[in-house]
């Protein structure tokens, strides 16, 4: 009898396991579009960012009294895992924001709504073209649209450049290496460092595109086996090995404060330098990145926003996202962002001048974004990126030569492209 019970239990368990390991996907029934709706928006970032999106949500409620949107913060560290947990259980947020390619990843697995069905592909006309291409799936599905923008800038210490007899920031690759040499000669122990993208593919991105190369061709064929890619990597490696750029990452403002003359860092640090490092007030300025042989192309990052496939309020969620691209919402978010000293660049290039930065800073970012490119949206890139970074690190740390590192990277990208 006991043995029979045990066998029965095991069989029951096995059956439950196979049937209930996951609930599988069901179509979520949509709520009545005119009935009161309460939506949850998981915003990846900090509490201040949540506050500016909440401001937009409150503004939206004024014209849509039936729709209440509550914005909650997800920290960058655990957002991805939490979104995955929500997608697995098909419960949680109606609207989510996160990394540029996250929505593509979740959308490809059926966890996001293709926003084309709600007409949001029309936002393409307002968005930065390269950033838009990066946010949409290779098959054209629009699982997410850009929510904001970020880019690179060259931050520099005016006092140290003056000490080295430099009239202004370097504008080309040659001028950069020249400036590093002059600064060193003038006794500046730390002439140059990179914050965002240090030892990472994002850091290489700028040099690659500035040399006229790219990670993929227009039809998504891996393209790191090119002379341009080699020239870019050689230059980047030399910055570390010949010109002493540190491999350890120091946050941009911290680097400037501890005596680094030229720092390549993200746009967001511009907002906090004067308040976080009062000693630097009046001693720093910023410019676009030095241009390479093919031009000044700079990386554009940012966040994407989308509607989950398990939301009962997909229509309202999509409508809110459309609202976020409107002048009124952008103005409200910028105002709130300024109050909170928050770095925020709207996803519309024509609105960069209205960002929370000073007009001079906004002008630098507008210039970078104008000719910028975003992360490749090609199949297999997300899987390849960490391994490509490792190959780049091997070249920087002298464990592989430039050609081998690029050939290995190309192989990885080809394998993951499927």
């Amino acid at each position: 009898m006991r043995r029979l019970t045990a066998i029965g239990c095991i069989a029951l368990l096995a059956a439950t396991l196979t049937s209930c390991a996951t609930s599988g996907q069901q179509q979520t029934e949509q709520a009545d579009a005119n009935a009161p709706a309460s939506l949850s928006f998981w915003s990846t970032g900090g509490d201040d960012e949540t506050a500016i999106f909440q401001k937009a949500a409150d503004l939206y409620k004024r014209s849509h009294p039936n729709v209440t949107i509550k914005v909650q913060t997800l920290t960058w560290d655990d957002a991805y895992a939490k979104l995955l947990a929500a997608a697995t259980s098909r419960t949680g947020p109606d609207i989510v924001s996160g990394g540029m390619t996250w929505m593509i990843q979740f959308g490809a697995r059926g966890a996001m709504v293709d926003l084309r069905s709600h007409g949001l592909d029309a936002l393409k006309a307002q968005a930065q073209p390269a950033q838009w291409d990066s946010a949409i799936s290779p098959d054209g599905s629009v699982y997410g649209v850009p929510l904001d923008m970020s880019t690179f800038a060259l931050y520099y210490r005016t006092d140290l450049l003056e000490k080295a007899g430099l009239g202004g920031p370097p504008k080309t690759w040659e001028e950069l290496t020249d400036a590093i040499a002059k600064l060193r000669k003038a006794g500046v122990a730390k002439p140059y460092s990179q914050d965002w993208g240090n030892l990472d593919w994002i850091g290489y991105f700028n040099y690659l595109y500035q040399a006229g190369g790219g990670f993929y061709t227009d039809d998504c064929k891996p393209s790191l086996n090119t002379p341009q890619a080699e020239q870019a990597l050689q230059y980047w490696v030399d910055l570390y090995r010949k010109h002493g750029a540190p491999t350890a990452t120091v946050e941009g403002a911290e680097a400037l404060d501890t005596g680094t003359a030229l720092v390549v860092a993200g746009s967001w640090i511009a907002k906090g330098i004067d308040t976080g490092k009062p000693n630097l007030k009046g001693k720093w300025a910023m410019a676009t990145l030095p241009a390479g042989p093919a031009g000044p192309t700079t990386f554009i990052g940012g966040r994407a926003i989308g509607v989950t496939a398990f939301s009962k309020y997909a229509k309202q969620g999509a409508d809110f996202i459309k609202f976020l691209y409107g002048d009124e919402a952008i103005r409200a978010m910028v105002e709130e962002g300024k109050k909170r000293n928050l770095p925020y660049i709207p996803p519309r290039p024509d609105k960069i001048a209205e960002s929370t930065f000073t007009p001079e800073q906004s002008a630098v970012f507008a210039q970078s974004i104008g000719s910028g490119k975003a992360a490749p949206g090609c199949p297999g890139w997300d899987e390849s990126a960490p391994d490509v970074s490792k190959q780049l690190q091997a070249a920087i740390l002298g464990k592989a030569d430039v050609k081998t590192a690029l050939a290995e990277s190309a192989k990885i990208m080809e394998r993951n492209a499927g």
Binding site: A21, A111, V250, E383, S389
Partner: protein, 305 residues
């Protein structure tokens, strides 16, 4: 006969019914939050599962790929093995050393024991953030500041692959030796003083007393310290995740700090490979199970010598 069995069952139920009833909340939680996820992960390890679409059964494919093809897993296994060997050996030796040094009941000994035990009762996240600050690359990092006092150049502690595992071992030993010390102090206290008295009368030196009395009688404690240390070391996660993780890589520069559990997390929660991550978890379980078993058997065998 049947009536007898039924009445026996009834009387047993009457006798133990309340106890069983009181066990229900624990058993419910135990089954729901431990047994169920465990069995679920065992099932998922034989599937391809991205966390969103329903899993598809793939048999032993995950295990084949893991053990035959996956170079990154082998790298993680290699790193973890070096880390486990170094941190458990050093941790155990230092725990024993501290216990021998501070096993008295005087207040200085008690204060020292408290100081060394403090990291064990402090939040591991806070400790890791402190270590990150110590090895911060800029001039505000404590380690580089100290080097600067002696006129030495700053070191890229967290971006030098050769330093990653030694730093992880240092963090682990520093944080764990106080706990081992407390166990050894308890073990030392349980050794009857008469043994030492008899040994001294027989002319045994301090080293001989340690070698012939203390060490053998501490064997159960050593086995416990080593086995729990091994299990903890194999499961290292926070140190790698908080101190070494880069923008795109969980294992730090050149994967120099990639360990098995961070690799599992990376596969499951950033690459949507939950079936594969479950296979990693079960391989890790088997490794820990076999090593712990060998350790326990060795402990038993040496006891019988």
């Amino acid at each position: 006969m049947a009536n007898h069995a039924v009445s026996l069952r009834r009387s047993r139920l009457r006798r133990y019914g309340t106890s069983y009833l009181m066990l229900v909340p624990f058993l419910g939680l135990f089954a729901g939050f431990l047994i169920w996820p465990l069995l679920n992960s065992l099932y998922l390890s034989f599937t391809s599962f991205d966390g969103i679409k329903p899993p598809t059964f793939t048999g032993l494919e995950n295990f084949r790929r893991l053990l035959v093809e996956d170079e990154r897993f082998r790298h993680a296994l290699g790193n973890t093995s070096v880390y486990v060997a170094a941190s458990v050996t050093l941790g155990t030796l230092l725990s024993l050393g501290l216990a021998l040094a501070f096993n008295g009941s005087s207040w200085p000994h008690r204060v020292m024991r408290t100081i060394f035990f403090l990291p064990s009762v402090t939040s591991s996240i806070a400790l890791m953030l402190m270590w990150k600050w110590i090895f911060f690359p800029s001039d505000v990092g404590l380690a580089n500041t100290v080097l600067d006092w002696f006129g030495q150049k700053a070191v890229a502690w967290l971006a030098t692959p050769g330093l990653t595992v030694p730093i992880l071992v240092l963090m682990s030993v520093w944080g764990g030796m106080g706990y081992g010390m407390v166990l050894y102090v308890a073990g030392l206290g349980a050794i009857p003083e008469e043994y030492y008295e008899a040994a001294r009368i027989d002319g045994a030196s301090t080293w001989q007393q340690f070698r012939r009395i203390t060490l053998p009688l501490l064997r159960p404690v050593t086995t416990y310290v080593v086995v729990t240390g091994l299990i903890g070391a194999f499961q290292v996660f926070e140190a790698v995740y908080i101190v070494f993780r880069g923008t795109n890589q969980i294992g730090g520069v050149l994967d120099s700090g990639l360990m098995i559990v961070p690799y599992l997390y990376d596969q499951g929660f950033t690459h949507f490979k939950l079936g594969y991550a479950s296979a990693v978890a079960w391989v890790l379980f088997l490794i820990i199970f076999v090593i712990s078993l060998v350790n326990l058997r060795l402990g038993r065998a040496t006891k019988e010598l």
